[in-house]
Amino acid sequence: MSADPTSGPATSSGSPARGTVFRESMLGSLRLDDDDRTRRVRLDLTVSADRLLRPFGTTMARATGRIRVTGWSDDPHAEGDLEISPLARRRIRYRITFTADGRRLTLDGWKSVSPRRPVTSMTVLPYTLYEDGVRLGAGTLRFPLGTQLFPFLTSFRFPRRENPGAFLTPRWRGEPGRTEVWYTTVTDPDTGTGLWLHHELTSPADGSPPYAHGWAAVFPKDGPVRHARFGPAAWSAQESGFSTDGIAVRPGSLSGSAEDGALRWDIAERPAGEPLFTFPRWSWRRLLLPAAQMLPAARSCYDGSFTHDGTTLTLTSATGASARIYGHGNARRWAWLHADLGGGDVLEIVSAVSTRPGLRRLPPLTFFQLRRHGRTWPRRPERSAVGWAGLCRFRTDIGLPTWTVTGRTALRRIRVEVTQPADRVLALDYTDPDGGHATCRNSERADAHVRLERWWFGGWRTEAEWELDGTAHAEVGSR
């Protein structure tokens, strides 16, 4: 598959575009060879494959989950693999390793699919239990059709398999009037310091040569915001990432210096999540909106050092994210939030008013994506931006120091309140490809309060609530 994001979805080369994830629970029994008792067993698995299930072929998949054996074991970290081949090999094989009584055991068994007994053969899993290859016991697990079929079928997901590094490749192909951004925001959990690295390629609308520039900024917890610009410098075609004048963005690394070394950074980046398309995926692939933003990984971890004016900040598993923007220029007004909610959950919001005639009269379009427990809500960003022909869209009230976003879907509603205290804000001037100017007020130490509620038989109940104190990354832009 091509790495060119304009020609298709960005994935690691040769791997399928979508995987498969499903959950399966089975109940049954186990009899150990040295014990006459029959023990009850429950196995709950989450199975993920790197490709779509192949009904006529064989799909190898990983499994993680929990196994419970009455009076003997309850291991929530069981793991193993599945060989799913119901027709080609007529076999669905499970090899699950877990711990019981401090011993590492392997459950090895398979459903043997038979056209004569399709239901029984697809639901009964005889297995043998081994320790270091020596048999310990045997048993049978059964998939309880009555109670588990519906959850099993509805658990199927086919997530895209994408390589975060592939999204760093420049989108720009020489067109005039484009801007492309690689930016990274980080919060150091030890010191509470926020970092902002902004790398930008601007291709002026008047056809003059493109140039690369950007800035780095640090938001110390107990000091003023410090920033330094680099560039502009001549842009040369890049295969991947951003590189100019000693400043580089590469898959897995960020490095550079500004103001003659007053600010220096050398940071390693470890993607820790699936890509997150804040704008619709199609708008990133084909530039049909004025601009689009996405995160190659919804969250990343950072290690390395950032030096400013002789002070070195050492990052160890700092959290944050890198993002990409490509488009015709900056919006007329906008607000942006990246909030790491902990536990792998991430909230990304971009609300913007276009500069285009007509569109500029609309209220801000709110592109809202909450990645929670590995699932994204709303399922598609169009839902939050335009709702149902404008009805039920998410709304943003842009202002300073506080701006809010509210929205609801059928059974959930959310309210986000972002506060950017003036002393933690860095105001910078943005230049559009057409020469226009905008002012952004950015803070990598913003506060945010997020409340997610779910409707439950006549009332709203709080499903989750997050309070971010100086760890939210936010920006408000205006002209």
Binding site: A88, R93, P126, T128, A138
Partner: protein, 610 residues
């Protein structure tokens, strides 16, 4: 339906002896172990005789007096067309009668029984429903045992699946031969090859396979056969057979049968051969310390015969192999979607109330020449057009000679002497006795005549001859085996010549008369008379049996003719070796146990080397 009327008629039961009364019950147990078709056929024939009696006398056989029964049988025997049918009826009756007679005149108990070396045996119901191994061997006979031992010694985790059960030497010593016979043979020993004439083709089914019930005769594969296999058929492993035959002989402790327990039957054969100046000698056998129990065909009761369950399989188990008994392999599991084409993944086996699947990257098929082709077919691996064809069986016939002095052929070695004078003509004569009724020789006569023959059976010496045949048979079927075998014209001539040679040998040894086994002319008193009889006899009038089915999944270089490649690998799938009699490229012309073992050794060693 009770068969008491028929047995009373056939055995001329006049109430003077006890044992004929017990024969019907014994016959019922014999029939119970036979396949449904044979059972139904025999019962239908018995009913036919009863109906004939009822039409002729107004009463069925059971209600007639001995004289009236005799009269009915005489009427039936007067119709030559019915004789083969009546002979077929006689076979199970004689089997039951022989046993009951033997029990009444039970031989003295033998010496202490040897203890069997240990085996790692697990019945199928105690085996886990899902398991894995490095290699699965289907069948524990000569080929399977050797393959299992070779692979286990190479460090592979080997599981041997055997459809039959394990029978210890001790269990053989405790029961009369017929009881064992029913359990040790597939279909109760009544496997028949359909053809003209039909051919009895008994094969063993137990841990140890047919080696448990063979005669123990061990011939090395003849050099000219090995040359034919290697040069003409491209089975190049035959080039190294000498080494493997040596190893097989060592494993089975093969030695020439000493004269002390040879028995009168063997001595008569030697005397006859001496008189004619024919090449003959005691056979080489795998029975050191044989006590001459003459029960090889129902499992050696003293443990002298080194069937593979006493020799090779214990060594395989000592190297880590495990044997699952009562497990009939339903199919070989094949992964059809492997990158380089289909590949065997394991087997599914079923037994009474249990089934199991074993995953293994190597499956060794050693189910025997009659069972391997159907197994491959039901596994979806039977697409080769020659699979199941190329069946050679070594058709055999037998004659008996009546001597003035008692011979008591069943006291001594069952198969004792080989007469090799006619081997160049493809005829191998072997002095073969058997417990009464279990011999392939069918005593002539019905009623009183048959009873006289039974009572005088101790003066009979029996010889058997097998011929090197053309591969004119075929194994059909998928779930059940159906064997089709038509004697080739050349082989028919050989069989007749073999019969004459045996007659000549018996007359030379001093026989008063020779029982030909031909229904129309059962007795001849001179060689000239025998020649006259044979001149007008077609092979379809002979009682034929066969014991050595081979070649149905032949190995060789010809893609079109051989389902296996020269290394014993089944074509069209990876991970399947064929290491039993079915993979022999052609008829080995001698008792095949050593050939099968050497081949299994060669094939598995070649696999390990690769």
């Amino acid at each position: 339906m009770s068969l008491s009327g028929l047995t009373a008629a056939l055995l001329a039961d006049d109430g003077t002896a006890d044992w004929p009364r017990r024969v019907p019950a014994r016959l019922d147990t014999v029939l119970a172990s036979m396949p449904l078709a044979a059972r139904a056929g025999l019962r239908a024939a018995a009913r036919g005789v009863d109906i004939y009696a009822a039409v002729r006398t107004g009463r069925t056989l059971g209600a007639l007096t001995p004289a009236e029964r005799e009269s009915v049988l005489e009427d039936l025997a007067a119709r030559p067309g019915l004789l083969p049918l009546l002979d077929a009826l006689k076979v199970p009756v004689l089997l039951a009668a022989g046993t009951e007679r033997l029990l009444e005149h039970a031989p003295a108990p033998r010496g202490p029984v040897r203890h069997d070396p240990p085996l790692d045996l697990t019945p199928l119901y105690a085996w886990p429903a899902r398991s894995t191994a490095d290699a699965v061997v289907i069948g524990s006979g000569a080929g399977g045992a050797m393959a299992a031992r070779t692979l286990a010694r190479a460090g592979l985790r080997v599981v041997v699946l055997e459809e039959g059960e394990h029978h210890s030497t001790e269990s053989f010593g405790e029961r009369p031969p017929l009881d064992r016979f029913n359990e040790l043979y597939r279909d109760g020993g009544a496997t028949v090859a359909v053809g003209s004439p039909p051919l009895l083709l008994p094969v063993g089914r137990a841990v140890g396979g047919t080696t448990v019930v063979n005669s123990g005769t061990c011939y090395r594969t003849p050099a000219h056969v090995l040359t034919h296999w290697s040069r003409d058929l491209g089975f190049t492993l035959a080039d190294g057979f000498d080494r493997h035959l040596d190893e097989a002989e060592r494993s089975l402790r093969v030695a020439t049968q000493p004269m002390d327990v040879l028995g009168a039957n063997g001595r008569i054969a030697l005397a006859g051969a001496h008189a004619l100046d024919w090449r003959a000698a005691p056979l080489r056998r795998n029975a050191p310390g044989c006590q001459g129990s003459c029960q090889c065909v129902a499992g050696c009761p003293t443990g002298a015969k080194q069937s593979v369950q006493l020799s090779v399989l214990p060594e395989a188990c000592a190297a880590g192999a495990r044997i699952v008994t009562g497990a009939r392999v339903e199919r070989i599991l094949v992964d059809a979607d492997r990158p380089k084409g289909p590949r065997a993944a394991g087997v599914r086996a079923r037994g009474q109330d249990a089934e199991c699947e074993i995953l293994a990257p190597l499956v060794v098929v050693a189910a025997g020449a009659l069972q391997s082709p159907p197994l491959l077919r039901r596994s979806g691996l039977g697409r080769h057009p020659r699979l199941g064809r190329n069946l050679s069986v070594h058709p055999a016939t037998s004659v008996a000679g009546r001597f003035a002095e008692p011979v008591t052929a069943w006291e001594g070695v069952l198969q004792s002497v080989g007469v090799e004078e006619h081997r160049a003509d493809g005829i191998l004569i072997e002095a073969t006795a058997a417990p009464p009724g279990m011999s392939s020789f069918v005593l002539p006569g019905l009623g009183a005549e048959l009873r006289r023959e039974l009572d005088g059976a101790d003066r009979l010496a029996t010889l058997g001859a097998m011929i090197a045949d053309r591969p004119s048979g075929r194994v059909l079927g998928r779930d059940r085996t159906l064997v089709r075998y038509d004697v080739d014209r050349r082989d028919a001539g050989r069989l007749v010549r073999a019969l004459r040679a045996m007659g000549e040998l018996l007359f030379a040894a001093g026989a008063e008369e020779v029982l030909t086994g031909i229904p129309d002319t059962p007795r001849v008193r001179s060689l000239a008379e025998l020649d006259a009889v044979l001149a007008g006899t077609s092979v379809s009038r002979l009682h034929l049996s066969a014991y050595h089915p081979t070649g149905t999944v032949a190995a060789g270089h010809d893609l079109q003719r051989c389902p296996c490649d020269p290394l014993g690998r089944l074509r069209g799938v990876r991970g399947v070796l064929v290491a039993d009699a079915s993979a022999l490229p052609s008829c080995p012309q001698v008792n095949p146990q050593l050939s099968i073992m050497a081949q299994a050794l060669a094939i598995t060693e070649a696999f390990l080397d690769a």
